[in-house]
């Protein structure tokens, strides 16, 4: 818990909005650099002892995620459609607790590859999309990838994939023990001439920096880790930030606006405290790390005479280019028991199809992993493409739980200008803050690469000896937990929101760093890149602050 408590009205060097993957890194780096840092988190502070193996609570009752009951969203597929509140769920989902979504993610921890940063130069324009190069290269980000892997703790086997991008250090921990799904995917993949390799995971395989090794309980995806083995910000960056004595994490505090002065500089943040009382916190600079949905929402809700279209939105693209990640998976049944509910979700990955290949006739690439990503209840409700609705056939399928696995594709989503997070003109949340409206329709190439990857996954499972294979339906996405691209990074202020150091083009003391900064979607698993960007941005923000250039 925070030992530092800033006094009411006390000016701080930095307010960081959001305590998740990026916010945690930002808080640690800036506070360790000697600055005073106040982190705001919408949700409560929980610890390992507060988490449970409770599927209903976390998957259906929004135990740690944004709830449609108090924080509703609307969805439409394009601007011609009426935006409606989906039943019982929000389109854009994230964990609303200290540590954010780094608590409940699967912990797949893939680096981007060098090609991700300059696909537009390689492939040119794609009709209907705004494919662009990043303003930075893989080589510039590599030191920060390495820093993440060692600072938060990642297990893996460097160089085990022929497609592994260049790296300056190996992983700090060996891979976690392989599961039967990994063995089978490796078997099938190698038969087909592919190159399965041990999955890099933000999960400890041995005692690391005072945290225990994973105990293989199996409740990773969608759950907070009960033994502190998942390398979430809650267990890594946040405690180290607080240990400096210069960082306070103010939980259950909802930032709804950013204050600006007549010079066009931010002055602090407006927020609701835990009692829903409006407050203002002064800051010399603000870093918004609220995720790819909440960050544009906060900017668009921070209108003023000087920024009538929302803060840092002179380009008009705040909230636009929303990207998820498509997929394309198969369920497979084998002769013997796999017991996939035991241990981490993923132990083998295939990146042979990572690059976009013009010979396929469409843009896109992806990775494939082996898993069963859900607990028994969620699996039983969604165990494959033609899951019987009811009766003996359903019962028989359910009885195959321990012999089942998923071969899951994770693929690209193109940046489409009309896909966006905007502000709903009518809907407000439980605090009276205008709610977000999601507009999303997959680019046709997104669906094609998902189908392509599903075909590869089916081939792998067939080669592995699956008794039966079921395909999941490939359809247009109506939501995601990967919230990307809505305040994209770039050199041109008319076509991007933040510069190459995550400073907004419009406001010198306002920075944005989270999934919103990503220019392209990668192939799923964006968290490592988000944290690497945050380490890099924090380094440059700190240097700029020392030079009095903020």
């Amino acid at each position: 818990m925070s030992s530092k408590i800033f006094k009411p009205g006390e000016m701080v060097d930095f307010v960081v909005v959001g305590s998740g993957s990026s916010g945690g890194v930002m808080a640690r780096e800036l506070s360790q650099a000697g600055f005073s840092v106040l982190v705001f988190e919408q949700g409560p502070r929980l610890d390992a002892a507060d988490f449970e193996h409770d599927e209903l609570k976390y998957q259906y009752l929004h135990g740690i995620t944004n709830s449609p009951l108090d924080s509703p969203q609307t969805f439409r597929k394009d601007a011609t459609a009426t935006a409606l509140r989906p039943d019982h769920a929000n389109p854009l989902v994230y964990a609303r607790i200290v540590g954010g979504s780094s608590n409940h993610f699967t912990a797949n921890f893939w680096r981007l590859h060098p090609v991700d940063f300059h696909e537009h130069s390689l492939l040119g324009d794609i009709p209907g999309a705004a494919l662009a190069d990043w303003p930075i290269s893989y080589e510039e980000l590599e030191p920060y990838y390495t820093k993440v892997e060692w600072e938060v703790g990642v297990s893996g086997l460097a160089g085990s994939s022929p497609f592994d991008p260049p790296r300056s250090r190996p992983y700090p921990m060996p891979p976690v023990p392989v599961k039967s799904s990994g063995v089978l995917m490796e078997l099938g993949g190698r038969k087909l001439g592919l190159h399965p390799y041990p999955a890099p995971l933000a999960i400890t395989s041995q005692v690391y920096r005072g945290r225990p090794a994973c105990v293989n309980c199996g409740f990773c995806n969608g759950f907070g880790c009960e033994v502190r083995a998942k390398s979430s910000s809650l267990y890594t960056m946040i405690p180290e930030a607080e240990a400096t004595g210069r960082c306070e994490v103010r939980s259950s505090s909802y930032v709804y606006g950013v204050g600006v002065n007549d010079k066009g500089r931010v002055t602090g943040v407006h927020y609701f405290d835990a009692k829903k009382v409006e407050q203002f916190q002064k800051a010399r600079a603000v870093v918004i790390c609220a995720n790819g949905a909440e960050t544009p929402k906060l900017l668009l809700n921070s209108k003023s005479n000087r920024f009538p279209d929302g803060l840092a939105n002179s380009s008009g693209i705040v909230g636009k280019h929303l990207m998820f990640n498509q997929g394309g998976s198969v369920h497979a049944l084998f002769e013997h028991e796999l017991n996939e509910y035991k241990s981490v979700q993923v132990t083998r990955v295939i990146h042979d199809f990572y690059n976009s290949d013009p010979k396929r006739g469409f843009y896109g690439g992806g990775g494939i992993d082996s898993r069963i990503s859900k607990g028994p209840a969620d699996w039983a409700l969604d165990a494959g493409g033609d899951l019987p609705l009811w009766g003996p056939a359903l019962k028989e399928r359910l009885e195959g739980y321990t012999r089942s696995m998923v071969c899951a594709g994770h693929t690209t989503s193109l940046a489409v200008p009309t896909n966006s997070v905007s502000i709903d003109p009518q809907l407000k949340d439980a605090w009276g803050v205008p709610a977000m409206r999601v507009t999303y329709k997959d680019h046709p190439d997104d669906l094609k690469i998902a189908a392509f990857m599903q075909d590869r996954a089916a081939e792998i499972m067939d080669a592995a000896g699956a008794q039966k294979i079921w395909r999941t339906s490939i359809s247009e996405l109506k939501g995601s937990v990967h919230l990307l691209g809505t305040c994209r990074m770039g050199n041109d202020p008319t076509r991007s929101v933040v510069d190459r150091y995550n400073r907004t083009h419009d406001v010198p003391n306002l920075f944005l760093c989270d999934g919103s900064s990503l220019v392209t979607s990668g192939r799923g698993q964006p968290t490592l890149t988000i944290e690497a960007l945050s380490f890099r941005a924090a380094h440059h923000i700190g240097e700029a602050a020392r030079r009095n250039e903020i």
Binding site: D50, S180, G210, V215, V227
Partner: protein, 207 residues
């Protein structure tokens, strides 16, 4: 090596003989705090229905039994899915209650209109029930009951279903908090990761 027979509660309380003190010390510094947090997973003894009337409960239970019947292992009846549904509508899914009641009323009246001789779904024979379900299986109400039946089999027993962990047992899910490899048949027979020729990892044999 077999997994230690460790329930979550046993693990949290540090009472498993399969785990050494050194292991526990290294693996879980917060075990003392977590022990206090341990929730029960014991079977919930069904009481009387709160949301459903006895007639409604009978129809809903008959529906759950059709949706997940007994097979090689017990189905929704043994797991008390109907009690889960009752608890759900009375408490954590109460905001869906009005829609549920309306759907159930329509389901019941539709059945009795079509089967005046049977009148009540729960009293009809299994073939009649199944035939009727085929005609309504695309309705939102059926979808809701299907979802709740399955949740009632596999959600934590503290919510009223999954009695004694019967749902979990029926699919082979072990309610334990710690497992050690091998986890399944195939990883038990795995020979280790062999790096690809020429790769930087060549020479390293890993699990």
């Amino acid at each position: 090596m077999a997994s230690p027979s460790t329930t979550r509660r046993e693990f949290l309380l540090g009472g498993s003989s399969g785990l050494t003190a050194a292991w526990l010390g290294a693996n879980w510094p917060v075990i003392a705090r977590a022990a206090q947090h341990a929730h029960h997973t014991a079977a919930t003894t069904p009481g009387k229905f709160v949301f459903l009337s006895p007639t409604q409960a009978a129809d809903i239970e008959a529906l759950t039994v059709q949706i997940v019947p007994d097979g090689k292992t017990p189905g929704a009846r043994a797991a008390n899915s109907v009690y889960f549904i009752d608890q759900a509508m009375a408490t954590f899914f109460s905001w869906r209650g009005a829609e549920f009641r309306a759907g159930l009323a329509q389901f019941q009246s539709g059945f009795s209109d079509a089967h005046p001789q049977a009148a009540v779904f729960a009293m009809a024979d299994a073939q009649t029930q199944a035939a009727w379900l085929h005609s309504v299986e695309t309705t939102p109400f059926f979808g809701t009951v299907r979802q709740l039946t399955i949740l009632g089999m596999f959600a934590d027993p503290k919510y009223g279903g999954n009695a004694g962990g019967e749902g979990w047992k029926s699919i082979g899910f072990e309610d334990q908090h710690v497992f050690v490899p091998p986890f399944g048949y195939y990883d038990a027979h795995y020979q280790g990761f062999v790096p690809y020729p020429g790769s930087p990892a060549a020479g390293a044999k890993q699990s």
